[in-house]
């Protein structure tokens, strides 16, 4: 008999993800890889105009193309799929017009789908689409957020009265008094460029309606299958249980794939209309004009400070131009709402006033994209802090330290009502300064300046909201699940199968859940198989967004693991005729708790429980499939925190910014898999860098997108990206047993601010400053007065 000395916990271990083997062999199954018998393909006729009435649609020539099965217009689809309105009750006063899967009456953004051509191949569908004749009557476009509410600006949806989607005023303390008492008042206006997620796998959906059973099965590259199931059922008028959504491998999502898209709803409606599978895979040009856009904001910020660097108060005015519709069902108000609520959160000053206006535009609809609002909030806040330090002749590190919410202040409620259980601003700062050898870098920068080499260092402290509770969407009336579930089944072989309601898009959800389950039960992590993303199989859950996977999915998995462990021990005790308390499970063996002596292995337990229950006491019932759910109730969000540092060199002759290196120290609570967290940080940071330097969806005044290809829209590529060093501090949440918080978005939250500050640090001795993103060579040269 062997002995197993101690329990094995995988929490904190960088377990290699098992699904890498499959993906490395080219055996991933992405939605476009799925083929069904008699499958058709759809291509959409999209509006070339930002705003135009649809006077007529002539599809005769399109229908005549060999291989075209159907051409459907918005009017024809209304009886199959109902429209939707992207508002939530808790955003008081929010308004938006009804949006339909295919536009009816008029198109309101360049790229809006107005007709669908279904054919035997995508190529033929495109042939058909090119032959659909739409009679357009162009209307004036609303493309400038600054003038969207002017009396002279056309109202996109007259029934709404104006172009205001949502407005909000927040106030804490007495900002007016703070500004009166200030030694110095700093004012600055920041312009953040619109950009988008550019998932490498474009949006894809394959809808398969079986008219014999009236059941709809949808393969969807998506983050929230239960949400899609609910919406399809309601809008296609099908019973919820007859709609099944399956997420295969998803090639990146970042929030882009958590929203309702008219073309995807149309694809499902088409399958219902035709009784055949219909596939839609967005091509890259379509993606640029139809994936949700994000982060087009003009933020005016004012900071009131004392000469010693104490921040007394702040005022923020945020104007954001979205699309012509607020996106369903999460609404396009969340980004602006979070921007103004998050901005002051790192610091303890109480006097804060903020206003937000979210206005409609004839541009692609805008909605949540990774780190929603955070990058803007902290780019603004931290740029003001750095500027205050510079103008007061103070050290930017000390100004931050001086104003942080400190350890003794927790639990703490922010100026805008966010509850912080406990954050670690001082610790992450300390670790960052050490890791980066910050003071040495400053000295080197100063020395190089004398030689005409312009380097800059930029800090960005941030908080990150993760693990949202029901108040995030549910209270507003959205059928978006804030709870999540986990099912664990002991197989007869003694291995575990686990089904979870959180989903996988490459971040390592499967592995993270397996580690938690293996640790909770006492088995080897290789013996846990995790299934995600099938509404018929997974427990009802929310999917993955707002960095909820570890905090909610992980906690549900922990509780389920503990429960099934107890059930396994009950079976073991029944078999061994002892007490469950005398036993333990270690690496898949039932052992004596005290001695570690192996008494039984799980395969044997499985055999008996499933095939020989006749050998067990008559009144004993094995329960070896267990489900537990979890919803965070004790705090609205499990906030995390971190700080980033960007080191850049600006070529002041060309305006080019070279990224020398980047650091991030983050605190996401108890870490399950350090390498996965590191890699989430790195990927997220590079997305933030993309926004800071490269990515920009540029519209002309007529609402035409000018940067709609991969040549014109610049995503970060390997040669320009820096090494990224990641450090960790762990402040577990006490509100959940696992202590896990989220980590997926923190990198993006702080990166743009760090880069902006670094560039401005490099430019400061030359009397130049930039307050727009992306920071292009042109912007830098203009700031330097060179152009």
């Amino acid at each position: 008999m062997s002995r197993i000395e101690k329990g094995r916990s995988y929490i904190g271990e960088s377990v290699v993800r098992p699904q890498t083997a499959r993906l490395l062999a080219g055996r991933g199954v992405f939605t476009d890889d799925v083929a069904l018998p008699r499958m058709l393909h759809v291509a959409f006729v999209r509006s070339p105009h930002a705003h135009a009435r649809i006077a007529s649609i002539d599809s005769a020539e399109a229908r005549a193309v060999a291989g075209v099965a159907a051409v459907v217009t918005g009017e024809e689809m209304t009886s199959v799929c109902s429209g939707w309105v992207g508002t939530l009750a808790h955003f008081q006063g929010m308004k938006s017009a009804t949006q339909r899967p295919l536009a009816v009456g008029k198109a309101s953004w360049q790229g809006e789908p107005v007709a669908a051509v279904v054919a035997e191949s995508r190529a033929i569908a495109e042939d058909g689409a090119s032959r659909v004749r739409v009679g357009w009557e162009p209307l004036p476009s609303v493309t400038d957020p600054e003038t969207a509410l002017d009396a002279s600006t056309p109202v996109i949806h007259p029934e709404l009265g104006d172009n205001l989607a949502f407005k909000l005023e927040l106030s804490s303390g007495d900002a007016e008094a703070a500004f009166k008492n200030a030694d110095v008042v700093l004012t600055e206006t920041f312009t953040m460029g619109r950009h988008t997620g550019v998932t490498l796998e474009a949006r894809a959906i394959l809808a398969d309606f079986d008219p014999s059973e009236r059941r709809l099965t949808v393969y969807h590259s998506f983050q929230a299958p239960n949400m899609m199931q609910d919406i399809l059922a309601r809008h296609l008028n099908l019973p919820e249980q007859d709609v099944r959504v399956i997420c295969k491998d998803v090639g990146g999502s970042f929030g882009i794939k958590v929203h309702i898209y008219p073309d995807e709803m149309a694809t499902c409606a088409l399958s219902v209309m035709l009784g055949r599978p219909v596939k839609f895979t967005a091509d890259r040009l379509e993606s640029f004009v139809s994936d949700i856009h994000a982060r087009e904001h003009r933020v005016k910020a004012e900071l009131a400070v004392k000469r010693d660097g104490t921040i007394l108060g702040m005022r923020v005015d945020d104007l954001t131009g979205i699309g012509p519709y607020s996106v369903y069902p999460r609404t396009s108000a969340v980004e602006g709402n979070q921007t103004i609520r998050l901005a002051p959160g790192v610091y303890r000053f109480r006097d804060y006033a903020a206003s937000l206006r979210v206005v409609f535009q004839n541009k692609t609809p805008m909605c949540q994209y990774r780190a929603v609002g955070h990058p803007i909030a902290f780019a603004v806040m931290e740029a003001m802090v750095d500027r205050a330090a510079r103008e007061l002749g103070l050290d930017p590190v000390e100004v931050r330290r001086k104003n942080y919410v400190t350890a003794e202040m927790y639990p703490h409620t922010s100026q805008t009502g966010y509850f912080f259980e406990r954050l670690s601003h001082e610790e992450v700062l300390h670790k960052l300064l050490e890791m980066s050898d910050y003071r040495a870098l400053c000295a080197e920068r100063d020395a190089l300046r004398k030689r005409g080499v312009h380097r800059g260092l930029g800090l960005c402290a941030f908080i990150e909201l993760t693990t949202p509770g029901p108040a995030f969407y549910g209270v507003g009336g959205a059928r978006i699940s804030s709870q999540d579930g986990c099912t664990i089944k002991l197989e007869p072989s003694g291995k575990l199968t686990c089904m979870t309601g959180v989903t996988e898009q490459g971040q390592g959800t499967d592995t993270m859940i397996a580690q938690v389950v293996a640790s909770a039960v006492g088995v080897a992590v290789e013996d846990v198989r995790v299934l995600t993303g099938d509404t018929m199989v997974s427990p009802y859950g929310g999917g993955t967004w707002a960095s909820r996977g570890a905090g909610i999915g992980g906690e549900a998995a922990l509780q389920t693991g503990k429960t099934i462990r107890g059930n396994i021990l009950k079976v073991a005790a029944a078999i061994l005729q002892c007490e469950p308390e005398d036993l333990d499970i270690r690496l898949g063996k039932i052992v004596d708790l005290m001695t570690g002596e192996v008494r039984l292995d799980l395969a044997e337990l499985g055999r008996v429980a499933y095939f020989r229950p006749d050998t067990l006491p008559k009144d004993f019932q094995s329960e070896l499939t267990v489900t537990r759910h979890y919803v965070p109730r004790h705090q609205g969000f499990a906030f995390t925190n971190g700080i980033q540092l960007s080191h850049v060199e600006v070529d002041v002759a060309t305006g080019f910014v070279r990224l020398l290196k980047h650091w991030c120290v983050e605190d996401c609570g108890r870490i399950i898999n350090p390498r996965l967290v590191d890699e989430q940080m790195r990927g997220a940071i590079v997305q933030g860098i993309g926004a800071a330097l490269y990515e920009h969806l540029v519209y002309d005044q007529q609402g035409q997108l000018l940067t709609g290809t991969m040549m014109d829209y610049l995503v970060p590529m390997a040669a320009e990206m820096p090494e990224i060093m990641v450090g960790h501090v762990e402040t577990p949440t006490a509100y959940a047993e696992g202590g896990f918080k989220g980590a997926g978005e923190a990198g993006t939250a702080g990166a743009p601010g760090a880069v902006l500050n670094a560039v401005n640090d490099a430019l400061a001795p030359l009397g130049a400053r930039v307050t727009s993103q992306p920071i292009t060579p042109e912007l830098v040269l203009r700031a330097l007065g060179a152009l």
């Binding site: 191949s121 995508r122 190529a123 495109e126 042939d127 090119s130 091509d283 890259r284 040009l285 002759a653 060309t654 305006g655 080019f656 490269y694 540029v698 000018l706 940067t707 290809t709 040549m711 014109d712 610049l714 590529m717 040669a719 320009e720 060579p777 042109e778 040269l781 060179a786 152009l787």
Partner: protein, 284 residues
């Protein structure tokens, strides 16, 4: 993004190819590397009735020395040119420019002839040929022509090719001793089309620039020979003052366009910077 339908021909000889080119006229497009044509087809920006695939035409990919100079066949892949010892020796400017052209997977298929015939204003090769005062060899049915590179590039995506003609080779005249070259470009990302690029080919006489040939790409409809800047440098040592003067003279040479990637002012400025850096490096 699937192309519209087209007929496909794969001629086995140059004569067959030329016959097809003549037959289809503007409704036919030549398919060489395809690295620029196929994206256009995919986006339906081009919808020809037929593609004439010349990739298998024998002998058009040869790189060799002839009395007139270094001959690079139209079908020579960028990657072959990049790794050719003959090009390194006899047209170092081109060798320097090659790594800037897209990425490896583009260079294995893209061809010299294709790049030249496309005449993208931001492309590197046309600027190099203009700086080297190379000759473009062209063939039509029963005709052969040699066109000086400078006169070959007429406008955006416009060359001196007459209907029915295709590029068959470029000829780079032999390089005399004391000639130096450098290629540099400024691009946001490695492999992107240049915001501004500069091909310099000049004779250095004991520390002074004897003769300068400066061909910019990305600053106009075609490669631009900056003749006033060249004159400002000619016969002089490239001290900072001289280089600055050349930079000012450059302003009169250039009338750059503006687009989402940069204003005319940006391109002017970057051209000046590139000039200063290239000359500094070449004569230093």
């Amino acid at each position: 993004m699937k192309p519209a339908q087209f007929a496909y021909h794969r001629p086995a000889s140059l004569d067959e190819a030329l016959a097809l080119v003549e037959r289809y006229g503007p409704d036919g497009r030549i398919l060489a590397g395809g690295q620029s044509l196929v994206p256009a087809l995919n986006m339906r920006l081009a919808a020809p009735a037929a593609l004439i695939d010349i990739n298998r035409l024998p002998g058009l990919d040869r790189i060799g020395l002839e009395p007139e100079g270094l001959v690079i066949g139209a079908l020579a892949r960028h990657e072959a040119v990049e790794s050719s010892p003959l090009v390194a020796r006899h047209a170092p400017l081109i060798a320097q420019a090659m790594p800037h052209i897209g990425h490896r997977a583009i260079r294995t298929r893209g061809t010299v002839g294709g790049s030249i015939a496309l005449a993208d204003p931001a492309a590197e090769l046309p600027a190099c040929l203009v700086a080297l005062e190379a000759v473009v060899r062209v063939a039509g049915r029963g005709t052969r022509r040699d066109i000086a590179a400078r006169g070959f590039f007429r406008g955006i995506y416009t060359t001196d090719l007459a209907p029915g003609e295709i590029v068959t080779a470029v000829v780079v005249p032999g390089i005399q001793p004391a000639w130096r070259s450098s290629f540099a470009e400024l691009a946001r990302r490695h492999g992107d089309y240049a915001l501004v690029g500069l091909a310099v080919h000049c004779r250095v006489d004991g520390g002074a620039i004897g003769v300068a040939r400066l061909a910019f790409c990305g600053v106009g409809a075609t490669p631009v020979r900056a003749s006033r800047a060249e004159a400002a440098l000619s016969g002089r040592r490239p001290d900072p003052g001289v280089v600055e003067e050349a930079g000012r003279a450059l302003d009169a040479d250039l009338d750059p366009p503006g687009d989402v990637h940069g204003s005319p002012a940006l391109r002017r400025h970057l051209a000046r910077v590139l000039l200063a850096r290239s000359i500094g490096q070449i004569a230093g």
